[in-house]
């Protein structure tokens, strides 16, 4: 494997112009045709985070997760041999969805229609009256999906032979993610929202700080200050399609008394769990296409922005914990951290939807990103590059046919 190039960093006041300055077309943020291209160009051939390893705690554990944009349902199992495997949740007889439960523990999966029964390694174990078929059982295994785990995060790739391994895909970020609480987590808290917003428009909200002082005037107070009125990051980092920002926080911020109490409880357990100050503690990773991970051990969250249609998405936010709540103070610290993060996230939804409505009117042919919205520009560039490449590939295949 070739060594992965290092992350390219840009400091706050450095010139960002080499990453582009031009306006960005508005259509890709609402047009169904563009969404259809993204399905093929990105979501059917890119590593997608779909679960956490703690959801498959022991041999026999399984989960079923939808990938709406690909109209797919994925069955992920931990076999008796401990191995994680993923399959299309589709019976190979006549295509019926095999498992209807979201999760459970079982090593055999029987299709409700005609009782074809598969083992957790995907092989067809038994099928009633099978002698009457014109096929061998060995040709009827469940359709495999590429799966791999990094930092406890379970990724799948719907491309049957992915171009890169997950580690190659994540590059230097793989090792950094491995240092975070998510990598050692055994459980998590979760909150979700449905939004009438394109996945990129929704995602972009969470990778620019220009809006913080207007949308989060109270909950985001510590994120800006007179020295940095918009709370712009200290620096940006880029690796391939992925990016990161190093978060700035106001050293003169004065947390409120109960807030201090809540944070101190959180800090106490972060330290007990072995997470002191670290290089990753202020990093906010944006893993292409649709995952965020915050490095802070105090607020160890991920957010997946799941595309549903051109103008609908779902946000899934998880906060990762090491061990179950083992005492009242830890339980309180986790509840306070979750409620705090949830408050901030809840303030964004309405304004993202307003953006979607504005764009869908067709009033604008283009939108504009300033230098401190560079991560939004980078996402669009990475998406559009893939969409254009797919378009060319499709057109070439059509011309050949």
């Amino acid at each position: 494997m070739a060594e992965s190039p290092a992350t390219q960093h840009i400091e706050l006041d450095e010139d960002h112009a080499h990453l582009g300055t031009g306006p960005i077309p508005a259509g890709p943020y609402y047009q169904p045709e563009y969404f259809d291209l993204e399905r093929e160009a990105i979501f059917r051939r890119t590593w997608l985070q779909i679960a956490h390893i703690s959801e498959l705690p022991e041999p026999g554990s399984f989960i079923v997760r939808p990938v709406e944009i690909a109209r797919a349902s994925i069955l992920i199992t931990r076999g008796r041999d401990g191995e994680i495997r993923a399959f299309h949740n589709v019976c190979t007889h006549r295509g019926t969805q095999l498992v209807s439960d979201d999760s459970g523990k079982r090593s055999l999966f029987s299709c409700p229609y005609h009782m074809w029964t598969f083992s957790d390694d995907g092989e067809l174990r038994s099928a009633p009256d099978f002698e009457r078929f014109y096929v061998d059982k060995s040709q009827c295994s469940l359709s495999k999906v590429a799966v791999d785990v990094c930092a406890g995060l379970v990724f799948i790739n719907l491309d049957s032979s992915p171009e890169q391994s997950l580690r190659e895909y994540l590059g230097p970020f793989a090792e950094e993610l491995e240092q975070l609480p998510v990598a050692r987590a055994t459980t998590f808290s979760e909150y979700t929202y449905e939004i009438e917003g394109n996945w990129k428009l929704t995602y972009d909200n969470f990778q620019e700080n220009y809006h913080l002082r207007f949308i989060h005037p109270r909950s985001g107070e510590a994120a800006n200050g007179p020295q940095n009125p918009f709370g712009y990051p200290i620096r940006y980092g880029f690796h391939g399609p992925h990016r990161t920002q190093t978060i700035w926080s106001n050293p003169d911020a004065r947390p409120k008394p109960f807030q201090t109490f809540g944070f101190m409880k959180g800090a106490e357990f972060a330290i007990k769990d072995g997470f002191g100050a670290s290089a990753q503690g202020k990093e906010y990773y944006a893993i292409f296409p649709n995952l965020f991970i915050l490095g802070s051990p105090m607020t160890p969250f991920s957010q997946s922005v799941v595309p549903i249609s051109a103008n609908r998405s779902r946000g899934i936010i998880r906060m990762y914990w090491i061990g179950e709540d083992d005492c009242a103070s830890r339980r309180f610290a986790r509840e306070y951290a979750m409620a705090t993060a949830r408050d901030i996230h809840s303030e964004d939804r309405a304004v993202i939807q307003a953006g979607q409505r504005g764009l869908e009117s067709g009033a604008l042919s283009h939108i504009h990103f300033q230098s401190q919205e560079i991560l939004c520009r980078h996402l669009f560039q990475e998406v559009d590059k893939r969409v254009e490449a797919y378009r060319a590939e499709r057109d070439a295949a059509r011309a050949k046919a």
Binding site: I195, R218, F258, E335, R349
Partner: protein, 116 residues
């Protein structure tokens, strides 16, 4: 009038808040905050904020699955305080606007819901 004690000794000041704020389940506690009036929130916050430390110090003496009914009520009260404190201390008079947005964010799982 019901004079039976609902909370461990030393937390009598919080007895009037048990019925409204001692709530099992993180999603239920979050919803209660959103549905409450400013008057209710401020009264509970002011009564409870200085008692959170002593309450956790008491509860920390036992494993969570061995808390008795009074202690469990106190635990749930302090967990509600986590939500209510954000409304009173951080959001202030922005809370009604905040609550409108907050309704769309659903807690689907919380560590406090396990072994509760």
């Amino acid at each position: 009038m019901n004079t039976e004690r609902n909370l461990p000794e030393g937390f009598e000041q919080l007895e009037p808040y048990v019925e409204s704020w001692s709530i099992a389940g993180a999603a239920n506690r979050s919803r209660r905050r959103i549905d409450s009036s400013e008057q209710e929130r401020v009264a509970f916050f002011n009564a409870a904020k200085e008692l959170a430390g002593p309450a956790l110090a008491l509860l920390d003496q036992k494993p969570l699955d061995q808390l008795d009914d009074r202690e469990t009520r106190l635990m749930n009260l302090i967990l509600s305080l986590a939500h209510v404190s954000l409304a009173v201390e951080i959001q202030g008079d922005d809370e009604p606007k905040h609550a409108k947005n907050s309704r769309h964010i659903t807690i689907t799982r919380a560590s406090s819901d396990f072994n509760a």
